[in-house]
Amino acid sequence: METTSALGWIDYAIMLIYFFFVLGIGWALKKFMRSATDFLEAGRSLPAWVTGLAFISANLGALEVIGMAASGAKYGMMTVHFYWIGAIPAMLFLAIFMMPFYYGSKARSVPEYLKLRFDEKTRGFNAFAFAFMTIMASGASMHALALLAERLLGWDYTLSLVGSAAIVLVYTYLGGLSSAIYNEVLQFFLIVIGFLPLVLISLKAIGGWEGIQASLGDNMLHSWKYAASPDQNPMGVEWMGIIIGLGFVLSFGYWCTNFLVVQRAMAAGSMGAARRTPLIGALPKMFIPFLVILPGIIAAALLQGDHSFIPFKEGSETVRDFDQVIPVLLMKYLPTGVLGLGLTALMASFMSGMAGNVSAFNTVFTYDIYQSYINPGKSDKHYLSVGQITTIAGVLVSILAAFIAKQFNNIMDFLQLIFAFINAPLFATFLLGMFTRRTTGHGAFWGLLSGTFAAAIHHGLTVPAGADSLVKGGWLTGGAANALHTYPSEMAQNFWTAIFAFFIALILTLVISYLTKRNKSDTDLKGLVYSLTPRVQDDSKHWYEKPQTLAIIIGAIALILSILFW
């Protein structure tokens, strides 16, 4: 792979200009930060198009751009399931059914909604787990950026890590959530425009879609055609696992309950804007595969003709390092000038992921941990200061997490596993909480905990084919040989782990709720439960602003795309 020599002064100039604008936005917003609400909730005043693009951009971090391109190279068009069935239905559900409760209840965070709907212990469990997860995810983003800068640009790892963290720290400290959101909009446009030349040039290099078809097997170019059986497709999953595991449990668990993305919608200026946020985000979301997955598929096709195109993983002579797909394509096809733009777009994706996590961590720590358990009843100014100090602490802990990730390569795999156990049953709790008045605080808490344990136990009893370590499963049976079931792939195991966790949590929450006394009256639950809440009065001025209309249009586009690439 070509290295630093490919960069010219113009590339560095583009990076510096981007840094200047990012910091400038933070500086411009500083004067508006007068209260904790301004800093931690963006004053609930932002327009829908801003929160909608931030909704997607906050999710367009390092894992997404690098990871999905790698998945594109490994699994082909099957990867689009993470964008279409694995995102769009959940985003539509969030907009139509769930935002009225999140926004209307005046909860300042998702854990706070859990407190209002259930009880303190359910909120505490969610708040502590979420705070830990976001700060580790922020550290993982920083680590990935510093590693990329070290390998690609020859920059010092520590300097890159501290430099990128400092930029994120300055603009989130100055402008709080507003600064993170406005910068996410800037970063969204930069990511799209910065990667577009790369996609077009590499597509030309392979000879267009026909060239890809000539180089790759048919099962790399379809999303559903080979989903009847796991041994027919490169992902090793079957349609049932895709629809229930990814399309329902994992997708709804992430898009409908993860505060990182829901926070963007909660920052909108009105109920209508809050409901339109996921819908506006869903439009570009459907087309992002052509920006991040397509380069991966092109790289897989180019690899057929040039076997040295993608380097092997460090210490391996057989396993390709598909995480290098985007950097390799950038260095191979872009001359100085647009190369700087492409690299800046890549940095923007890392930074939006980092800032998104830090700003969500801020809010949850200040409101759901500090104000609830450490120092309640203080003035708004006090919590504004705590929010600002938490920004600094959050970035510092993220840097520490990045160094830990560097030292112990597998620790992030292990943490990802723990996060998956915690996230899998979450949607069951929210579904029952929002749509049944009988669900109790005890039912929610113990159901959530049982679902998490069910996920861990299922993982401990099963293994994916070719498992080479206990992190992959089988740790309750002493290894792969005695596992109760062997899944055809890691992906299939993940999907079914989530399915088990969800249904265990759902059943136990219902059973325990019926065995325990209701802790909230109907009056308490007004605005929190569907049957007890008056229908939302739609404030849309035009037909195309109505959430239902937008949802139908988006659903139709997603369906057409799925048919085109079936």
């Binding site: 604008f21 005043s45 446009f189 030349p197 872009l334 001359p335 000038g337």
Partner: protein, 65 residues
């Protein structure tokens, strides 16, 4: 929040557009370096940035803020 984000976005892309367009023009005959992707990307960004700036200024005129 009283920030019109279209203005900084438009300005940043207009600056990128100018830089890349000039780079594209000056290196137009450089067969070693190169599709003159700098020129095309630069022009695209110049148009996109200018449009964002126009929308931003128009909003200021109509709303007065």
């Amino acid at each position: 929040m009283g920030l019109d984000i279209k203005f900084p976005i438009g300005l940043m892309f207009a600056i990128f557009g100018v830089i890349l367009t000039i780079q594209g023009i000056f290196t137009a005959g450089d067969t070693v370096l190169y599709v003159n992707v700098n020129l095309w990307s630069g022009l695209f960004m110049l148009i996109f940035g200018s449009l964002m700036l126009v929308f931003s200024v128009r909003k200021k005129k109509t709303t007065g803020r």
